[in-house]
């Protein structure tokens, strides 16, 4: 009788499996905590260690111009945000256009092909964008920046003369914009495609033109999704290393003159550039800047997800 009431086998392994699965779920939390803790431990000598040594190390990185940690992180953080923000502005309008084109204008067959192309753009490794940016785009885009500096130079951010070769914030932002284009496009496209048909047809039925329909029905519906997509794109741009490293001529100022070389540098590219020659304390300083970048991208991503969650609850 007892053999009938008891499960034949697998009960024990069932419990073990349950344990393993729970452990893997919790491991995600542990890993994220470990990232923070390990970075913090390695960065501690730069934050709380001997101030004179830290000042000495940072002085070596900057040629003696800057000696305090926050004085070092400040311009880097500024450069990171500047480059990413411009990239976002450039990418935003183009990807809105592509997303709307795919969801509302293109014939269905063309839309499928376009989806593939967007995914293809996302699949190209960043080092290849860097190589292309450094060897193809930089020489090709100089005449354009020169033109901008000549005719729009009265706007402070476009003040000339444009640097040649154009290893400038402006060129890097263009490459980063290309890199974050696919992520913004694909998320916005998905949201736009989910716009209720009834809303769209009601708008068209009231005599709205196609653009008015998009303005009245599609964009309000997809607004929060688009915002969160942009935040994700921003997060990607903030952390991008290779393209910046391979294109930008670095500098450590708070300048917003986009067309001049040696003005800004981003945290990620700075780490990759200084890392090979850094000593123990130097690496700690770099990891501390990496921690700042981590916190920044964490917050941006968290915000993006919160917006999405709020939107999906509605």
């Amino acid at each position: 009788m007892s053999s009938l009431t008891k499960p034949v086998s697998g009960k024990r392994f069932d419990t073990v499996f349950r344990g393993i699965v729970y452990a893997c779920g919790i491991l995600i939390l542990v890993v994220l905590a470990a990232v923070t803790v390990f970075l913090f431990v390695r960065a501690w000598p730069a934050i709380g260690g001997n101030h004179e040594d830290v000042a000495d190390t940072i002085g070596k990185f900057t040629g003696g111009k800057i000696t305090s940690f926050w004085g070092y992180v400040g311009p880097l953080l500024f450069g990171t945000v500047l480059v990413a923000a411009i990239a976002l502005v450039v990418a935003f309008f183009v990807s809105m256009g592509i997303a709307l084109f795919i969801s509302h204008y293109a014939p269905k067959k063309l839309a499928t092909v376009l989806n593939y192309i967007v995914d293809l753009l996302a699949a190209i490794p960043s080092v290849i964008y860097g190589l292309w940016g450094g060897l193809v785009l930089v020489p090709a885009i100089y005449p354009f920046w020169n033109w901008v500096a000549q005719y729009l130079g009265w706007i402070p951010i476009f003040a000339g003369p444009a640097a040649n070769p154009a290893r400038t914030v402006a060129s890097v932002s263009v490459v980063l914009a290309i890199m974050i284009l696919p992520i913004i496009t694909s998320i916005s496209r998905d949201i736009f495609q989910q716009t209720p048909r009834l809303l769209q047809e009601a708008a068209l039925g009231l005599g709205a033109t196609k653009w008015e329909m998009i303005k009245l029905a599609v964009i309000p519906f997809g607004k929060s999704g688009v915002i969160s997509a942009s935040m994700l794109g921003l997060g990607r741009a903030l952390g991008e290393t290779m393209a910046v490293l391979m294109i930008l001529s670095p500098g450590l100022t708070y300048s917003v003159q986009l067309l001049k070389a040696s003005q800004n540098q981003t945290i990620a590219a700075n780490i990759a550039a200084q890392y090979p020659e850094a000593n123990g304390l130097g690496v700690s300083v770099l990891i501390a800047t990496g921690l700042v970048l981590f916190v920044l991208t964490f917050l941006v991503n968290l915000l993006a997800r919160k917006i999405t969650q709020k939107a999906s609850v509605k």
């Binding site: 499996f17 349950r18 995600i28 490794p125 964008y129 290309i178 991503n301 968290l302 997800r305």
Partner: protein, 334 residues
Amino acid sequence: MSTPRKTAEDDGSIAYAPVIDWDKFKPSRSSLAARKRKDGLMHALIILAFIVALIPLISVLWTTLVKGAQRFNWDFLSHNMTNVIGGQQTASGGYGGILHAIIGTLEITLGAMVISIPIGLLCAVYLVEYSGDGKLAKTIRLLVDVMSGIPSIVAGLFAFSVFTIIGGPGTANGFEGSVALSLLMIPTVVKTSEEMLKIVPNDLREASLALGVTKQRTITKVVLRTSLPGIVSGVILAIARVIGETAPLLLTAGYIVSTNMNLFSGQMTTLPVYVYQEYSKFRAYCPEDAGASCVAAIPMQRAWSAALMLIVIVLILNLIGRIVAKIFSVETKR
């Protein structure tokens, strides 16, 4: 709008019905034209945006193909960078190659797969099958999303910190790179697997459980088996994403000229890092008496050829992932 005037003689007859000035509501010719113009303008702008986005894509692919094909041959694929002096020809008649980088890329990516596929898959199983949408599951979901946005260089710094704290300063090996890559790969695996597990019909689970099968067996033999093609395609796309990562490997796996087969000791070159290193060399040294066989621009040519190899690998992986997904989607329709 004109309202009906009530007068003493109002007897409710049709003669006193409100008089509506319909002409007022007629769109004027100019406003109609303006709206049409705006519609056309936006249409043009949207198409323009699409064309603008196509230019860089075509340019990237085309230049990589043209410039990469220049040095892309068997000698390039079958040699590493040992005995390469400046821009001079090596004994085999080539100019060095990427064999060591291909091996390094494959091994490090394999290491990352071994770490992240089980963890990612089981985490997805937890989220879909066990969590019951509790608070913990919500937190994990949020953190997985956030984790997918970690900058790749921070992942590299993390692996570097872990290994230098445990293994002492100066530790650099392929496995360190695998750990960094798996940090980037886990969120992608979790998310795609979760989506795939969600679409497994609940009837299957209930049927299996009703037959008295344990939950573990239901999951491994029914749920996972049903969603296998989807998971495989997701995993392949995740691999395609990390195989091109450069920054974390620059910090962890290092760069050497010879072939290193051991994932757990010694530095290892990978394809993306190779591209970057050749790019930063800019020009090779050629002595004056070297003759025509010495090519000063060889580093850039090698960088383009390695980039071509990388693009080919990534595109093939994407293609396989898509084909697997397509086969799967046909099955669900039946």
